[in-house]
Symmetry: C2
Subunit: 183 residues, 2 copies
Amino acid sequence: MSYLEPSTSRFVFATQIVSTPMTDIPLKRRSPVSLRDCNLSKSFELIGDRWTLLILRSALYGLRRFDDFQADLDVPRSVLSNRLAGLVDSGIMERREYREGRQRARIEYPLTRMGQALGLPFMAMAAWGDKWLGDGTSPLTLRSKSTGQRLSVVLVDERGKRAIKSDIEQVIDVKASRKKQVR
Amino acid sequence: MSYLEPSTSRFVFATQIVSTPMTDIPLKRRSPVSLRDCNLSKSFELIGDRWTLLILRSALYGLRRFDDFQADLDVPRSVLSNRLAGLVDSGIMERREYREGRQRARIEYPLTRMGQALGLPFMAMAAWGDKWLGDGTSPLTLRSKSTGQRLSVVLVDERGKRAIKSDIEQVIDVKASRKKQVR
C-alpha cells in the first residue's frame, strides 16, 4: 500500500524526529473512537472556547469574583456572565454568596473539585506553550516546597516509571466500540 | 483580612477535599502572570476553539486528509478549511502534497513535531474527561507495549518522583513580572 508519495524529503524528517506520546502517527481515515463516545470531545464542548479557557486559567490562579475576572481578562460583562453560568451548569464552578464586612452579599465562583482537577491538563498545556510559543522562559513553574525541585507533567506507567516513546501503544476499549454499533 | 464569610458550610467542604496540582487555591484578585506574558493564553489563541480542538484530536489519531477530517467530524468545509489554514500558519500542521497511485496530487495536513507535542496535554485532558464526564470507562488508553501497564499523565519532580499535593508551590518568574512593568 502506498498511502504516501511525498513530494519532498520533509516527510522523512517529520516522521523520524518525534518526541511525544502519540508519536510516529500512522495514517488513519477515521478516529477509532466516535465523537459521541469520546470524553475528550465532551470536555471540549464544555470548555473548548477561548474565553472559557481564559476564565479557567484565572480561576486556577485563585480568582473567583465576577469583577476580578472582568478586570483580569478585559472580557465583556455579558460574555463573562454567560461563560460563568455555563461553568456552573457543567459542575466546574460553584455559585456562592460571600460578604465582605458589612457590605451586601455578593456572588463568587470558586472551582469545584472537578474544576480544580483541570490544573493538570492546564499545566501540560502551559508547558507546551512555554516550549513552542515562548521565549525560553516560563513565567509560571510548579516546584516542590521541600526540595525546590521543578515539577513537570509526564506520562508514567503504573509503577511511576516514565514511559519510553517507542514503547507506547494506543488501546481502544472494545465495549466503547460495541456501544457505538448498538446505538 | 476577612475575604470570605461563606453563608454555607460548603466552603469548608470545597477547600478541604482537593486533589490537584493547583490546589487549596487561595483567593487572588489578579492573575500573577499577565495575559500577554502567558504562554498558556497564547496557546489558547491558537487552538482554543472547539473545531480546532476536534481537528487536533482527529489528527493525533492519525487523520491528515481534508475529506477524512470532514467525514470524521461532520464539520462544514469552509470552517475546516479556515481552521486547517490557521493550524498551518501557527506551525502545528504542515501542508503537503500526496499522490495515490496515478491520481492527481492532493493535499494533506500532517502534524509537525510542535503539533505532535500536543499529545501530552490532550491525554491529560482526556483523562479529566474520563473521570468527570464519562461513565467510568475510557475508550482510549495508552499502554506500555512491553509490560502492558497502563500509562497516565502525572506531575513529577526532577528525579521522576510523583509530586505530593501539599508539597506543591507556584513560582512566578521575576523576569516575566519585570518585563510586564517595563513595557
